[in-house]
Amino acid sequence: MAFSTFLIYKIILVLCVFTLALVVAMYSTYAERKVAAFLQDRLGPNRAGPFGILQPLADGLKMFMKEEIIPNVSNKWLFILGPSIAMLTACMTGVVIPWGPAYQGASGTFPLQITDVNIGILYLFGVVSIGVYGIMIGGWASNNKFALLGAIRASSQMISYEVAMGLSIIALIMTTGTLSVGEIVAQQSGWHWNIFYQPLGFLIFIICAFAETNRTPFDLPECESELVGGYHTEYSSMKLGFYLFAEYINMFISSAVMACLFFGGYNFPFIHIHAPLLASIVGFLIMMAKTCFFIFFFMWIRWTVPRFRYDQLMNLGWKILIPLSILNIFITGIVMWLQHKI
């Protein structure tokens, strides 16, 4: 492939993934309200457009029209930097996720993954960790005790759960032998989904994913009953919108990551299509279906399980999940040793 085609193709792909993330996040807000409503025997938003389909647009417009308030006592630059970082890191994570099988065209191969870096998983973890800065800086710059408390909660929670999350992934990496997300997905064709080899690892991973995205039952950083609003108490208008939006993008990306690492990504058993374009499209749709299921699962949990207390949260993270994930690594090692894979 010529370099110019390569460049243009990559730029188009980046734009597509960016738009995809934004649109999915936008409609996640709608889906969240609908799911909440349906689980509570209500109808949810249904006035803007048919079935309320235009509701996210109306919400976005509302966010833009709201008065922009920057508190006098806040540190102005940090105050603006906070949501920017949160949004930036949220958008950056989609880069290493393979959205579908590569398209074998006449002029070369077009992978539906922006870049298949060989340390894809480490990249993901690195970028997600920077996301903490967005929250921490925002909470600190607000110069408000509730915002600061929320930010401290968020950062200590995210740092704690990152440990368990990383450890749960190590067992997965031992079995797959690679850090590249693209390769991990490619290995799982047919029924070889990692969930069957790493059920415990998946359980730990999904619990940590809930904690990392600050979703219920780990949504203590924005616990309204104690903290007014949490780390974004002082935020208004679209800056608040960015924080909320970043949370939904994170949710989307972590759903995609779970689909990729444990549920075979774009692979689905019994589906073998040889027409290259169709294969890519079907693969993409399968991937989206899995992702959407996990997004639904996030919401389903949110409207079922109440919030943890903070000490319970820390106990669960340090005293249960970390030992469990170490145990998981040991068991994986022993089984691999017995099967003479190492």
Partner: protein, 202 residues
């Protein structure tokens, strides 16, 4: 102690079993319960399109009725305004001119008749007081408004439209008519009636 319902559970403080300590079975059970509601019948009533039936005694926006010939029944006697505990009603009376018999049933009529819907408490006492069967509370709802002025309803909003009269048959029953004519009640007696009863020694 006797249980009030069969849903009550005896609470025992005991060590949690392993399954309970794991929390996951409980969470799965919770997920099952919430999901069962996903397809359940929704309790919401989509208001403007769907409405609930009002109770037969519901008291909403007033109507000033016309008689069978289309003439306004109200004679501006002011009894409704006197009866009103919220002092919501004001009116200006006028004398019927020649040729206006089609418009007003009585010789005196209300040129201006206003109800302040922000003051009104929808008690229905005006309806009870009216000797001419002119004012009724209906099952219509007073809509909201941005301005206070909009809540002062004049005759344009209150008087029965000629082409499609408001149905008040639920409230204008035979019992009501009988009650309004029954001379036993002081409010149905004229001055002459009262003199007569006094003469006859009651």
């Amino acid at each position: 102690m006797q249980a009030l319902t069969n849903r009550s559970k005896v609470v025992v403080k005991k060590e949690m079993s392993l399954a309970e300590k794991l929390y996951l079975p409980a969470i799965l059970n919770g997920l099952k319960i919430t999901f069962s509601h996903f397809f359940a019948k929704k309790a919401t009533i989509s208001y403007p399109e769907e409405t609930r039936a009002f109770a037969p005694v519901y008291r909403g926006m007033h109507v000033l009725k016309r008689d069978e010939n289309g003439a306004e029944r109200c004679t501006a006697c002011g009894l409704c305004a006197v009866a009103c505990p919220a002092e919501a009603i004001t009116m200006v009376a006028a004398e019927r001119k020649k040729g206006e018999e089609k418009l007003y049933r009585e010789e005196k009529y209300a040129a201006v008749y206003e109800i302040n819907m922000l003051r009104c408490i929808f008690c229905g006492l005006c309806e009870e007081a009216c000797p001419k069967e002119a004012i009724f509370l209906t099952d219509r709802i007073v809509p909201s408004d941005y301005e206070r002025d909009g809540f002062i309803y004049g005759k344009d909003k209150l008087v029965d439209p000629i082409d499609k009269p408001i149905d008040v048959s639920v409230r204008e029953t035979a019992e009501v008519a009988a009650f309004k004519k029954d001379k036993e009640y002081a409010h149905n007696q004229t001055w002459k009636d009262q003199v007569n009863t006094r003469k006859s020694g009651h």
